[in-house]
Amino acid sequence: MGEGAGPDGRGELMLALLADARLPTGGHTQSAGLEPALRAGMDPARVPDYLRARLATVTRVEAATAVVARHVVMPDATGCGPSSGAAAMALAETWHAWAARTPSAALRDTSQRLGRGYLRLLRRLWAGDPRVLALDEAARLVTADHAADRASDLGRDQARGVEGSDDESATADGRGRAASGTRNRGAQPPRPLVLGVTAACAGLSALQVARLVGYEDTQTVAAATLKLAPIDPVDATGWVVAAQPAIDALAYDVAPLTDPRAIPAHGAPLVEQWAEIHARTTERLFSA
């Protein structure tokens, strides 16, 4: 799995960079669903269980998506990259696979908002990289798909004599939702897609990007706990250390994936419900 991780240790350094909370991508606005979980009555002592549940479900989907997104834009063994059209199509497929496995519009919306933050970084640090251009092309493909979906929905509604729905923009990606304040923009790639492309540009291996997703989610929850509950910061850090075997198991499970269809579909209905509630809650400390 050392593919892409150069002997100069670039991959390791980039992994540390991308996992650092100081990375300017808006991570400080996130609690990985912990705030609504605690509001719903979850005992802070159960945060380690919450972490394990996420690693087994929603985080697994994110990690697998990032791994596949990275794979489809990587050069093959002969050093030949995929054509940009092929890479864009494969990224769009991966995007659709992620959306199909992320049933909560609130979770999709959050992931896309975070994706915008990572995209800003990616565009500045790897400007002009063909993999970044493939991601832009994938966004155009998915935007066109959504427009076609809307047109077909509209046609069906008209055939049924239904009045124009007032939430026609509430597409599979949650765009147009009042909570996000967004309107009919072009489709925004979700965070794992952008992260996968970033991993390819930064020279991370599949295993490294999977570990990154697992670690980042765990650390986000642990750090958010400190803002929400009276927990000793060393205890919270201990949770992350204790989660290491689970993170590693997740990483080894998803790292070999190359096909969007193979991305696992583990739902977490409670996490999804809490996310939906939080998107409509005021007086939030964290965006999600």
Partner: protein
């Protein structure tokens, strides 16, 4: 292809930050600006209340701006981070507002109340107002700090309360003006028409410069001590908070460090739109 949707919003507003300690009247100042200007300018507001969306609700309830044009950004209890070292969430919100309500003239970004060291990054705003109030004590202006010293405008708010809190407003303004090397200071009261007019005149002046392309965002943030190499491989380490303003960056750099655009600070504190202190 670059992101035409978000890196280059259809119209680029003047992005104006409002920072200052908790309770000095940042939200009221924004409500005042909306009340005075929403008839003539297209405005948007982003607010970063430290915990609640209290500020957004306050502004909406003030009825001075379409509620859709006021958006709250949660900062995860990191108000300083959200305006300074990771502006991502605020920047996305500003860009969305600019896109949704194009063309906007001004987007006001209200920081969650923070301490005296919090200032906006020039990556987020084009200019910033730092707000103090007389109730915080007449000596606050003398304490200095990047916002007080180098924000584009320092507002000393609630001057109508001065008699009740024993503050000498002219003295406080004089102290602030000294701390700012003569930079603009505005003594403001919502009950003092003349001061309100001075505030809107300042903003109109700034907007005109922004549109003319002559406004260059300045970073009031703390300048880290940094190193200038000389030809012998030696050099000098200095900082900018000690009056050591006698060298020109960009002319004598020897490639040892990259100052970048954010470093092009005004050495001579040019006042783009001087506002006379209005006596209460």
């Amino acid at each position: 292809m670059p992101d035409t949707q978000h890196d280059h919003a259809p119209t680029r507003s003047l992005r104006l930050g409002v920072a200052g300690p908790v309770g000095t009247g940042k939200s009221s100042l924004i409500a005042l600006l909306c009340r005075e200007l929403s008839g003539t300018l297209q405005l948007g507001v982003i607010t970063n209340d430290i915990y609640t969306d209290e500020d957004a609700r306050f502004l909406r309830s003030a009825g001075v701006l379409d509620p859709e044009r006021i958006r709250a950004v949660e900062t995860g209890a990191c108000p300083h981070t959200a305006i300074r070292d990771d502006v991502t969430a605020n920047l996305l919100a500003v860009e969305d507002l600019e896109e949704d309500f194009a063309p906007l003239d001004v987007v006001l970004v209200e920081s969650g109340g923070d301490n005296l060291t919090a200032t906006f990054s020039p990556a987020l705003v084009d200019a910033q107002i730092f707000v103090l109030d007389v109730a915080g004590g007449g000596d606050v202006a003398r304490k200095g700090g990047p916002g007080i010293s180098r924000a584009d405008l320092l507002v000393v708010n609630k001057t109508d309360l001065a008699p009740y809190v024993g503050v000498d407003v002219p003295q406080m303004v004089a102290d602030a003006t000294a701390a700012r090397d003569g930079g603009p200071v505005l003594a403001l009261s919502r009950l003092d028409r003349e001061s309100i007019d001075a505030l809107t005149a300042w903003l109109h002046g700034l907007l005109a410069e922004h549109r003319a392309g002559s406004h260059v965002p300045q970073d009031p943030g703390p300048m880290a001590p940094h190193f200038h190499a000389d030809e012998d491989g030696d050099g000098v380490l200095h900082s900018h908070d000690d009056g050591d303003h006698d060298h020109a960056h960009g002319d004598q750099d020897h490639g040892d460090h990259d100052h970048g655009a954010a470093h092009d600070h005004a050495e001579d504190h040019v006042d783009t739109a001087p506002v006379p202190a209005v006596r209460a």
